[in-house]
């Protein structure tokens, strides 16, 4: 078990270095884009004079290197600075949006993960049956359609034709939980449909892969039921790839839902990120970028640790 902690420590240290690299890359990337915040906000009405005055006020006339390290110094101490565009503390901007994003991700995950695993196991159990084929085809159809189209289809049938759910997810932090769930139902359902296929098919494939092993045949010959074989003998050995796919999809739910946010007007991090890039609000781009990178690194770390913990062979090496 001690080895696990060493591994976690190593990976966390590597993660911090990765974050530093990511922040530098994002900064350079935003700097390379044409235009800056002053030009983007003043737009067509900009004159050289007013742009210069605006830049000076924002401190954009200082060298890029200096601005980067100034920000980095703050960020290391937990101070992400203020948004250049409207002077609000970034931590304040982020906290509400991050909460919303995590809520939606958690909502979609609590529905999709158990559902995908169950369906995957059942599909493996009734391999090549009508049920298996149906599951695969339906899941593949949803995953092949672009997200916004899935969203529009759901809106058409569940909000316009039959007014079951609102097509706008305008949620407030102060709303009761039931209201939150009701209002974010359609975006969550869209995400469930989008991430289901990947997880379900990986579960099915991983289990089927293990089912080909001799020890499974032995178990079958002992007269064990198919379900029991899968649940007690195949699944534990198929967990590693499944956990990795689940982690990947969780990360996607946190960082990749801009389109769904836009269609349902859900106030999450994605929209904030897009706005910040459009207006070259470097500070906000950096901070959101770091959050996203951190989510990926952490989820991957958790997936790796879990894969090791659930695999006695990997654990065994360290005895």
């Amino acid at each position: 078990m001690g080895r696990i902690w060493i591994l976690v420590g190593e990976r966390l240290a590597l993660g911090v270095i990765t974050l530093l690299v990511v922040s530098a890359l994002i900064f350079v990337g935003v700097e390379l884009l044409p235009g800056d915040l002053a030009q983007e906000i003043l737009g067509q009405s900009a004159t050289p004079e007013t742009v210069a005055a605006f830049r000076h006020e924002l401190g954009l006339d200082q060298p890029a290197i200096q601005r980067y390290f100034h920000w980095l110094l703050g960020a290391v101490q937990g101070d992400f600075g203020t948004s250049l565009a409207n002077n609000r503390p970034i931590s304040e901007l982020l906290s509400v949006r991050l909460g919303n994003t995590l809520f939606l991700a958690a909502f979609a995950a609590t529905v999709s993960i158990p559902l995908a695993l169950t369906l995957g196991i059942l599909a493996a159990l009734y391999r090549n049956s009508i049920f298996d084929r149906l599951c695969n085809v339906v899941a593949l159809i949803w995953v092949s359609l672009p997200e916004f189209f899935v969203a529009y289809v759901l809106i058409l049938f569940l909000a316009v034709r039959v007014a079951l759910f609102p097509s706008l997810s305008n949620i407030d932090p102060g709303m009761p939980f039931g209201e939150l769930v009701y209002r974010s139902f359609l975006p969550a359902l869209t995400l469930v449909l989008v991430v289901m296929a990947h997880m379900m098919r990986m579960t099915r494939a991983a289990i089927i892969n293990v089912l080909a092993s001799p020890y499974i045949e032995m178990a079958r010959l002992k007269g064990m039921s198919r379900l029991r074989v899968i649940l007690y003998h195949a699944l534990p050995n198929a967990l590693a790839p499944i956990i990795n796919v689940v982690a990947l999809n969780l990360a996607y739910l946190v960082v990749g839902v801009v389109v769904v946010e836009v269609v349902f007007v859900y106030p999450g991090l994605g929209q904030l990120f897009v706005d910040a890039v459009t207006h070259r609000d470097v500070m906000v781009v950096q901070s959101v970028g770091l959050l996203f990178a951190a989510a990926y690194i952490l989820l991957n770390l958790i997936a790796d640790v879990l894969s090791i913990v659930t695999n006695p062979r990997l654990m065994g090496e360290r005895r």
């Binding site: 983007e40 007013t50 565009a85 409207n86 809106i155 106030p267």
Partner: protein, 529 residues
């Protein structure tokens, strides 16, 4: 009889009579009972009613929005501004300018010295009275060396401003300007509280009909009516909620399913479907918005007037309005004065698509064919790239080869507009010819996007500005429109209409057309039936 019914309707609206009085009056004049009731229902809809919540869905609105009036740059903030703050003047229906925080304004002869008398009964939402010091500080914020405001160039005409007493502000201008009061209706020039001669630009305390209850930039703002609003017959909704719904389909859906009451900029491709939806209506206003293709008249080949004329003749304006604006617009005549603006001259002949004549002008310029590059991007306006391609196709018939060069939307206004000699652009327009010409066509305008330096035009501009005799002004502006059309570098193929959609219970009076949605003042002007 109809006159009589109208009088009755007016009394009903004015509150002098009630329903019984209306019906008795109408019946006494032999109006049938059913007609009398329907006339009543009609008039009642036109009577502003207090209360209700207005929910609005807007295309624009961004996380980077703030209450700093120097950086307002989208409809979301413009509309919020007019709900929370007041200005010295406002646009009335019909394009006229009306006093708002000013009780009256008048010019000394020559229109060089302007005196604005302020209302004495105006209070900010924190209870403080409005004084001349607030006005001076609010306007001063946009002047000065370190101002980043878009109205800085316009305010350069103010040589001096001072308060002669607590409720009087006197402006002395560098040159006379008969249209001076118009500039104060601009959304940047809201009046905020002063302390020590400066305003806090981020302040949300205004004199307007609404106060800010909550504001999440890029998401939504909630406004609440002020009970003590000084302006009579305004601010009818109890609450107003504006949400940014940048996805067009989502915005239209929200309106059709009744989750919002008003949306701006519906999708013109599917507008026929929106019109069919029950409980929804689509309205348009004409305004001053226009799309342009400026040529730099100091750069070959555009320095040749015949080449410019050829390019102006080689565009099929009707087809552009039909295909790019889907009919929601009118053809332009290569000058920026809209039909709704004062001093528009209807006698000027409309330029039409004429490839043969274009060829003739090319020949005059000593050319048999012409190759030019047109820089464009969707940032210029929605459909700009399609418009450019369509134009290129039309111009072929005149022996003109236009190469459409597509540019990224990012940085378009800094890297292409004012830089490339021929590009696509737009103007939201200005309320008066003087302001429009000064902003975009005068010799030292920052945004003279055609680099046009016409001596006669610039002389007329100064003369007309200070001229008080309206007939003489009309003549001068007519000549300037002609100069712009025939000599200027701007190809102005079309004027756009503002389109918005609303649910049936939302009612309004006659619309002011300067900008979209009752000149962006619908929050305080409209009501729920």
């Amino acid at each position: 009889m109809n006159d009589h019914l109208d009088t009755l309707k007016r009394s009903l609206i004015g509150g002098q009579i009630d329903r019984r009085g209306f019906m008795t009056g109408a019946l006494a004049f032999g109006v049938g009972l059913s007609m009398a009731s329907s006339a009543y229902a009609q008039a009642e809809k036109a009577t502003p009613k207090q209360g209700g919540t207005l929910r609005v869905g807007f295309l624009q609105g961004s996380t980077s929005d703030s209450f700093d009036p120097a950086t307002y740059n989208n409809d979301f903030m413009f509309v919020t501004n007019y709900a929370v703050f007041n200005h010295l003047t406002e646009f009335a229906p019909g394009g006229a300018i009306a006093p708002e925080l000013a009780e009256s304004f008048e010019a000394e002869p020559g229109a060089k010295v302007w005196t604005f008398k302020l209302r004495k009964d105006v209070e900010f939402s924190d209870g403080r009275k409005l004084t001349a010091a607030d006005v001076l500080a609010s306007i001063d914020y946009h002047r000065g060396e370190d101002s980043k405001s878009a109205v800085k160039p316009v305010l350069a005409q103010i040589a001096e401003m001072k308060a002669s007493d607590d409720h009087t502000v006197v402006f002395t201008l560098t040159t006379g300007n008969a249209d001076f009061p118009y500039i104060f209706a601009d959304y940047h020039l809201c009046i905020k509280q002063a302390s020590d001669g400066k305003i806090d630009p981020m302040s949300r305390i205004g004199t307007g009909g609404y106060t800010v209850e909550s504001f999440e930039p890029g998401v939504r703002i909630k406004l609440k009516r002020r009970d003590s609003y000084w302006k009579e017959g305004r601010a009818h909704f109890e609450q107003v909620e504006i949400t940014t719904i940048s996805d067009t389909a989502a915005r239209m859906n929200a309106l059709m399913t009744g989750q919002v009451d008003v949306v701006d900029r519906p999708d013109l491709k599917t507008i026929h479907l929106l019109k069919r939806a029950p409980g929804v209506r689509v309205e348009t206003t004409s305004g001053t918005l226009h799309y342009t293709m400026p040529m730099h008249v100091n750069t070959p080949p555009y320095d040749n007037r015949d080449v410019r004329t050829a390019l102006k003749l080689a565009i099929n304006r009707e087809e552009l309005v039909e295909k790019i604006l889907r009919g929601y617009g009118t053809v332009g005549n290569d000058h920026p004065v809209a039909k709704s603006m004062p001093f528009f001259d209807p006698a000027i002949e409309q330029r039409a698509y004429d490839p043969e004549k274009a060829k003739f002008h090319l020949k005059q310029a000593g050319l048999s064919s012409l190759d030019v590059q047109l820089f464009t991007s969707e940032a210029a306006f929605e459909g700009a790239v399609d418009a450019s391609l369509l134009y290129a196709e039309q111009a072929k018939k005149a022996g003109i080869n236009i190469e459409v060069v597509r540019q990224p939307s990012d940085g378009y206004w800094s890297n292409v507009w004012l830089v490339k000699p021929f590009c696509t652009s737009y103007w939201g327009g200005r309320p008066t010819p003087d302001w429009m010409f000064t902003a975009g066509y005068s010799k030292d305008a920052e945004w003279n996007d055609t680099k046009w330096q016409n001596e006669r035009f610039n002389t007329l501009l100064l003369e007309a500005r200070a001229e008080i005799d309206q007939n003489k002004r009309a003549e001068m502006y007519s000549e300037m429109q002609r100069l712009c059309r025939d000599d200027g570098g701007a190809l102005i193929p079309m004027f756009g209409q503002y389109v918005f959609a609303l649910r049936d219970q939302v009612q309004h009076g006659e619309l002011s057309e300067q900008w979209n949605l009752d000149s962006l003042r619908f929050v305080e002007r409209w009501w729920m039936a």
